[in-house]
């Protein structure tokens, strides 16, 4: 029985066709502008419409996408992409190199860009109809990974003659799906792109992003077949869904690490011994166990395992050793402990549990922690204003390169000042900058290993766990490709 088509009303009533896939998501799609959006509710709709030259696979490995091949010059300054043959936009127009150049230049020019290209780009040109050439002023290794980001998707040159706003209200791209019905505060319905370059795909004719805000509700809808998949099933429900009669889960390694961040500008947490004491006092495996129900790895380093150069398996973490914790606090400026607060966005069960565990861990070394749970908007304002002592949040890679996380979290000169921790270690900063221009290989690996160990020892943050990327599906759903950035590819999906 096909859930999406017979039980789901959205599917069944539409045209009686058998291939609607209904996907439960917890937030609505409010904008389809690929350059200015970053949040997953919009991003994972945008990436169904627009596609970049290169992309990544399930394991985070870069693959050619709209480009059938790419080359990097030996000096690392010239990137050359050759477009596939017969590429068409969903409106039937051919895709040319000019379109790609226009897209990348627009992105560079966008002042509200959410994920701007950080490489020092000298020019983007189209030497011929099928070739795109990017020239850099200085080498920048993460460029290819950055280009794989959804925000570097290709749009028609000059928006096909429309204004930018009109274009993004009714966008045209090369992706497998076309927007057919869009309620900015509700559901988004896609239909299949008849001109999709992967012949015979997608296998479903309709894709519905259905807004189901409540997690439990989504689980129940999946169980009864009202939806065919859930974008973010709660970890605590996975057992049930994995073993259900009609349901299953698909997983992929993740690019996310949930982490306690210390504000090193705070007098207490400026003291590395205090930070180490707390890290030693906490048992991260317990935290993982309590919140992940077996669907996460305890994080020993800030770089998730699914990203290259992660030293998850080899690093020496500061973790779970009460004796050492006591030693550290004794060496600190606060041997008798102190009081502080953990800032927390309310409504997140896992964070609340983790905070309680840190609270009781800290109590063991005489540090009294209060949990300060505030709503998400307040939370963001607070931490962006550095108005916190400890907070819990996640660090997420936007593209499959170690730099994606490390740069953001350890660069005191970046606008987030080491992710609002103000952590600064010139050595780390130097290594970080060096890694950005070092071509992939052992040298880069060494650099990242050193950085990760330093960060682990100085504990500007305590990485907790990296949850698996999980999608819960009806049993009859085949061919769904789960991506490590939490998105999925639907083009191969069939409903059995």
């Amino acid at each position: 029985q096909t859930g999406g088509s017979t039980t789901s009303a959205t599917g069944a009533s539409a045209s009686g066709d058998q291939t609607t896939f209904t996907y439960a998501r917890s937030a609505a799609v409010s904008s389809l502008n690929l350059w200015t959006e970053i949040t997953s509710n919009n991003a994972f709709a945008i990436d169904k419409i627009f596609e970049p030259l290169v992309s990544f696979d399930k394991n985070g490995k870069i693959i050619d996408w709209l480009a059938k091949s790419h080359q990097i010059s030996d000096d690392g300054l010239t990137y050359t992409f050759t477009l596939r043959d017969g590429l068409k936009f969903s409106n039937g127009k051919n895709v040319t190199a000019e379109d790609a150049v226009f897209s990348l230049q627009q992105h560079q020019a966008e002042k509200d860009a959410a994920l701007p290209l950080t490489a020092d780009i000298a020019s983007v040109t189209a030497p011929d109809e099928h070739t795109v050439e990017i020239k850099l002023n200085s080498p920048y290794t993460p460029l290819l990974a950055e280009l794989a980001n959804f925000s570097n998707g290709i749009v028609p040159k000059d928006f096909g003659g429309k204004s930018e706003a009109d274009f993004f209200a009714n966008p045209v791209g090369t992706g497998p799906f076309v927007v057919s019905k869009w309620d900015k505060s509700g559901d988004l319905t896609f239909t299949k792109n008849e001109n999709y370059w992967q012949k015979g795909k997608p296998g479903i004719s309709k894709l519905v992003y259905k807004l189901v805000e409540d997690g439990t509700q989504a689980v129940n809808q999946l169980k009864t077949g009202q939806v065919d998949g859930i974008e973010d099933p709660a970890l605590e429900n996975l057992d049930e869904l994995e073993n259900g009669n009609d349901t299953k889960v698909e997983t992929a390694g993740s690019w996310v690490t949930h982490t306690f961040f210390f504000n090193t500008a705070d007098e207490h947490f400026a003291d590395v011994h205090v930070r180490r004491a707390l890290a030693y006092a906490l048992n991260r495996a317990d935290v993982t166990k309590a919140v992940s129900f077996g669907h996460a790895d305890t994080a020993k380093t800030v770089l998730p395992k699914a990203i290259e150069y992660s030293t998850q398996d080899s690093i020496k973490p500061v973790d779970n050793d009460l004796a050492k914790a006591k030693e550290e606090i004794a060496q600190s400026k606060y041997p008798d402990g102190f009081e502080a607060k953990i800032l927390l966005a309310s409504g997140n069960n896992a964070y609340s549990q983790a905070a309680q565990l840190l609270q009781s861990a800290a109590a063991k070394v005489g540090v009294k922690l209060d949990i300060d749970s505030v709503d998400i908007a307040t939370f963001r304002s607070r931490f962006k204003a550095f108005d916190y002592q400890i907070m819990i949040n996640s660090a997420q890679a936007d593209y499959p390169d170690a730099d994606s996380i490390i740069d953001f979290q350890a660069d005191p000169d970046g606008f987030s000042k080491s992710y609002w921790t103000s952590y600064s270690n010139p050595e780390v900063t130097a290594e970080l900058k060096k890694a950005q221009v070092t071509p992939d290989g052992d040298e880069r690996a060494d650099l990242y290993e050193k950085i990760q160990q330093t960060l682990a020892d100085e504990v500007p943050y305590i990485p907790l766990y990296s949850p698996q990327i999980v999608k819960a599906l009806r049993k009859n759903v085949n061919g769904l490709e789960v991506l490590p950035n939490n998105s999925v590819r639907f083009q191969d999906v069939t409903l059995g």
Partner: protein, 279 residues
């Protein structure tokens, strides 16, 4: 004298409706459990024990354990202390304010009544969750927010009840007698009228407490309730609701506690009502 005494007793027995007795007994049992269990239990309501997380009810843990391996029985009891105290504490001020406002509005009518009515109408027309959220966001989640929210909304129901009761009494001849006697308005309001409307206000108070408790629990569900790790029925129910299907005890047992308190208070309210009507 002895006969007097026994007579009084008999009158008392006679007067107390069985619903009231049952309700009081139930409430007393709940309060006692909330006081005694955490005192005698070997478990600490806030100390985690990850290895024994989410165990079903057993001899060692009659109510099972929660996500952090804490004994739910002792947590439910400890939460009872918090929530019952909160329930009473939070209702107190609205009760006082609402009763005074109702007295004034009911006795004077005219513009005091109109202002109070306008204010309460406007507050009712104000979306409740907007208020809840705004207050919680301003104060941060936790007891202060709960307190403020219900201070802002809670007085209305008392004001309305007391106003109605006062207005219906204000025309009574004994009120006029008091005026003829030369008593001041304040004295008439608080010494003459108040004792007569108080019972109605108290009945509302009791039944409103159930509503309040449920509201606090709902705030917990929305993540705006009592802050962890303080045990609270609402957050406990909310934490467990996502595995209601697989680990029913985590949210059902705290839920049962709320229901029990609800029943007790409803019985008390019923009983008080019966008593008032009999008197």
């Amino acid at each position: 004298m002895l006969s007097h005494y026994s007579l009084r007793l008999r009158v008392l027995e006679h007067r107390l409706p069985h619903t009231l007795i049952a309700g009081l007994a139930l409430l007393a049992a709940i309060v006692l459990a909330a006081i005694i269990i955490p005192a005698v239990s070997p478990y600490d309501p806030i100390a985690e024990d990850i290895p024994s997380m989410l165990q079903p009810p057993s001899f060692a843990h009659p109510f099972g354990t929660d996500q952090l391996g804490r004994d739910l029985l002792v947590r439910v009891a400890a939460a009872g202390r918090v929530d019952l105290a909160l329930m009473v504490g939070v209702e107190l001020l609205p009760f006082l304010i609402g009763t005074c406002a109702g007295l004034v509005a009911g006795y004077y009518g005219g513009w005091p009544d109109r202002i109070i009515t306008l204010l309460s109408d406007a507050l009712i027309a104000f979306p409740f969750y907007l208020l809840v959220a705004v207050v919680a966001f301003v104060t941060g989640t936790g007891i202060t927010g709960i307190f403020l929210t219900f201070l802002i909304m809670g007085w209305i129901i008392f004001a309305r009840t007391v106003k109605g009761a006062t207005a219906s009494l204000a025309g009574a001849e004994w009120v006029d007698s008091a005026r003829v006697m030369g008593f001041s308005d304040a004295s008439i309001l608080f010494r003459q009228l108040l004792p007569n409307v108080l019972s109605q206000a108290v009945i509302v108070l009791v039944s409103d407490m159930v509503a309040l408790l449920v509201a606090i629990v709902t705030l917990g569900y929305l993540g705006l309730g009592v802050r962890p790790p303080t045990p609270d029925w609402g957050t406990m129910i909310a934490d467990g609701q996502s595995f209601l299907a697989t680990r029913w005890w985590v949210s059902t047992l705290p839920g049962a506690a709320v229901v029990l308190v609800g029943i007790a208070l409803a019985l008390i309210g019923d009983g008080l009502n019966d008593m008032r009507r009999r008197a």
